[in-house]
Symmetry: C2
Subunit: 501 residues, 2 copies
């Protein structure tokens, strides 16, 4: 196979992969936004199995492997983005070829069945409904790590590298050790001095008004309506199909004004990353965000550093007050900002404040590490979960719904995903620090939208898409390698009045 033949074959196959990608995108949106009727699941699973089957055959075919190997050998003659894509693709092909096809297909089927079982278990707060699925999922994950592990990477590291290339448990251990050393004591101190929730936070905020404010936020966040959609789901998420179709979901609670605001800003942070990838990368292996933690850095930066800043609410609180004049009568922007920056030990990760957030992730990280080491089984999860919440956050978990059933990640087999959330927050602090050298961020926000912030992020990070590894991108965006002290300093300064951890 010549390089030119290899390239033609590769590009054709990539178009087919994009077509399969469309089906997964739409099917998961359909399921997770609750549009699919409940009894549709059996036939749907059968269809997704056939889809996986085709994709497996395509990705593991000898011709495809040969094409990719031919291009990898000629990497120096290729466009740098394509060369990077080929290296990643070669690793992915090798991974997939190591998974026995029947196991791969059975796992796809399991995933599509596990999700509705998880939803039902969560609704009924009955872990036993999910346990048989979770047990199979964890067993598969251990087997998967055994098949795919190589070059000294094994067990949990296989998954950590899959979700954040280049990171191992040793890296995360160092990161979480710093969190444990500096943040756990701070949380315990802050929790004791916590002021009570102000009255306006306990009021009822009709969903219709929340939706109007979500539309307002869409403008503030420069979330182009020609290329985006705002939907609803149980658990908010962002999904995209290329860089011209980026959808976020929200969940509106009448008794919680803050939930939708910060989940919308969070998801739009993810969405902006996808929208701002250089258009010529769309449909290539370098289209889209570079890694989960980098993605999370963008959502967390928008949610916490931008979306909870005094400058942001000095500018936008009047609009919120106009939507809810009765509920927010007499409340000042400063009172509102103080309220949204409260830190409190709580049960739900996605509702957690910035300070306690990494402890929620730490708990999941420690559990996953034990699961992957075979020291913990699915059946042990509720007890382990509840014990760690007591130890690190000092809270009693009253039900599995508010405990180990709160997140859907494990239902999809996504072990190793959670740690990227905390790493992303740490990236965000470092990126924010770099941005503040170039830009008076508060002044930019007072102009009414996040445009200048979004432009800076586009220029320094977003436009590169996934054309480089995360560690290279952090260096490009901030001028330094990743350094978790920016994050710990930021939290200490904001919540403890200290700095320089």
């Amino acid at each position: 196979m010549t390089v030119s033949q290899a390239k033609e074959y590769y590009l054709q196959t990539r178009e087919k992969e994009n077509a399969f990608g469309l089906c997964w995108f739409l099917s998961s949106l359909d399921t997770e936004t609750g549009v699919m009727p409940p009894r549709a699941i059996d036939f749907r699973s059968r269809q997704l199995s056939a889809l996986s089957d085709m994709q497996y055959d395509m990705t593991t075919s000898d011709t495809y492997r040969e094409a990719v190997a031919t291009l990898a050998a000629a990497a120096d003659t290729l466009d740098p983005a394509l060369a990077h894509e080929i290296v990643c693709k070669q690793e992915a092909i090798e991974n997939l070829r190591r998974v026995p096809k029947e196991e791969y297909l059975a796992f796809t089927d399991l995933q599509s069945r596990a999700y509705p079982a998880y939803v039902e278990a969560k609704q009924k707060s009955d872990f036993s409904l999910f346990l048989p699925y979770l047990d199979k999922i964890f067993r598969y994950c251990r087997k998967y790590a055994g098949w795919v592990g190589r070059d000294g990477r094994e067990g949990y590291d296989v998954y950590l590298h899959m979700f954040e290339p280049g990171y191992t448990a040793a890296d995360y251990d160092r990161f979480f050790a710093l969190i444990k050393e500096k943040i756990v004591p701070l949380v315990q101190k802050v929790a004791k001095t916590q002021k009570p929730l102000p009255e306006f936070a306990k009021k009822t905020y009709p969903v219709e008004g929340q939706k109007r404010f979500a539309a307002y936020l869409q403008k503030v966040m420069c979330f182009d309506p020609e290329r985006t959609a705002m939907l609803e789901s149980e658990h908010p998420f962002t999904a995209n199909n290329g860089s011209h179709d980026v959808r976020i979901t929200n969940h509106y609670y009448e008794d919680n004004l803050f939930s939708f605001i910060f989940s919308a800003i969070h998801e739009m942070g993810h969405g902006l990353y996808e929208l701002q990838v250089a258009p010529e990368l769309e449909g290539t292996g370098c289209g889209g965000g570079a890694s989960l933690a980098l993605h999370e850095s963008q959502s967390r930066l928008m949610e916490n550093m931008i979306g909870r800043s005094p400058a942001f609410w000095e500018t936008h609180f009047p609009a919120l007050q106009a939507v809810f004049p009765e509920q927010l009568a007499g409340v000042t922007a400063a009172e509102f900002t103080a309220c949204i920056n409260r830190a409190e030990c709580s049960l739900i990760r996605t509702e957690a404040d910035e300070l306690t957030y990494p402890l929620h992730v730490l708990i999941r990280y420690e559990i996953e590490k034990e699961v992957m080491a075979g020291q913990l089984e699915a059946a042990d999860i509720p007890a382990a979960w509840n014990a760690k919440y007591k130890a690190y956050l000092g809270v009693d978990v009253p039900s599995d719904r508010e405990g180990c059933l709160q997140d859907m990640h494990w239902a999809g087999g996504d072990v190793g995903y959670f740690p990227t959330y905390a790493l992303g927050s740490a990236y965000a602090a470092q990126i924010y620090h770099a941005m503040s050298r170039d830009l008076d961020i508060d002044a930019a926000l007072r102009e009414g939208s996040v445009k200048k912030v979004a432009d800076w992020l586009c220029e320094h990070l977003h436009k590169y898409g996934a054309s480089k590894y995360p560690k290279e991108l952090i260096l490009l965006a901030t001028g330094e390698p990743f350094d978790p002290h920016y994050y710990v300093d930021y939290l200490l300064r904001k919540y403890g009045g200290e700095a320089h951890a």
Copy 2:
């Protein structure tokens, strides 16, 4: 290839076709319910092209043709449903192999681009925005008929047979000649004696109430919520993925109480057909309704013969009145029933009454026949359309939005589809006549739901799915071959006080 190898290959390929089917189902739902962001279309089209490409290769492969030919030769050893499926599949493969691949792919791309152009043209009532697409579509249709036509079937007949197997322009000419002879004069007579619209029909009916009544209708129509979804779109339709995932869409207009009621009942009529196909046929080539006209017979039977009957509204008008107590104060079920059975010459096919409906179809049939004969070009459509509306319905078409841009069918290349609507109404009258021999339909409706009607339809028609040709199914369901006089008699009796055309 042995029969057993052929069968294995065939069944595996069918699973793959089902997987592709899922992608088309979800993508078209996403587009037509307006969820997809506008600028997503380019990448989406590229993905759908790649999908078509894969399907084309799969369907036209020599191995697949050989497998199907092997099974066709051994048809008498197969289960009868599979044997029927193989005959149909062999014809479909032969059709596709006659279409040059580059033309096929270019047309798929054209379809996905034509739809948004059509929507924009309709919104702006500007035919010129759609004209370049429609012109290409019509040219393709003529070429397609040339490639695929064989065994004496050519031009328009190729499309008529594709949408209603076994029917030719000669059949439809006879059918529409009867319509022209009996119904056109009746329409002109009825139009002159039309009573004015009652006051309650001109009131405003808030969408929220309409949605509540739609949920009530879902129960009445036995439209199982575990296997269905009710969505919204510009133009109502039914789409299904197997027999456990049947979705209908609605469009709610505050100034029109009737629109959503009868489109919901209509679409649920389609939906019930899909829901009641024997479950073992799901995922086979015999799952789903047998033909477009049979499908339309089920929606029209429910919409007109059931949903506009006095017995139906004696039972359900109180519920409608409870939703809109103010607007419907003092209105009786009989007044309501009289109003929903008014006949009036109008512009919009989907809003047309039962009596004038076939004339809307007649107009489209005559236009399509001329288009396929090369006697009419896309640019001529508005003038031809308007002239025929004047001639048959006596109405002036004020804009293309209310004229030739009202239906989306041609945007998808679906020439030959419209005539099945009128044929379906005619089937419905014959099926209703057969049902009334077995069942006191009015008494059944007074029990509160359409269950007994649905059960009869399941037993006599739905359960067979697409395992037989339409003409066989009509014979099975009614004991007679298709006879359009049942339809004409029904209309004459209902609207003209006459019978026995």
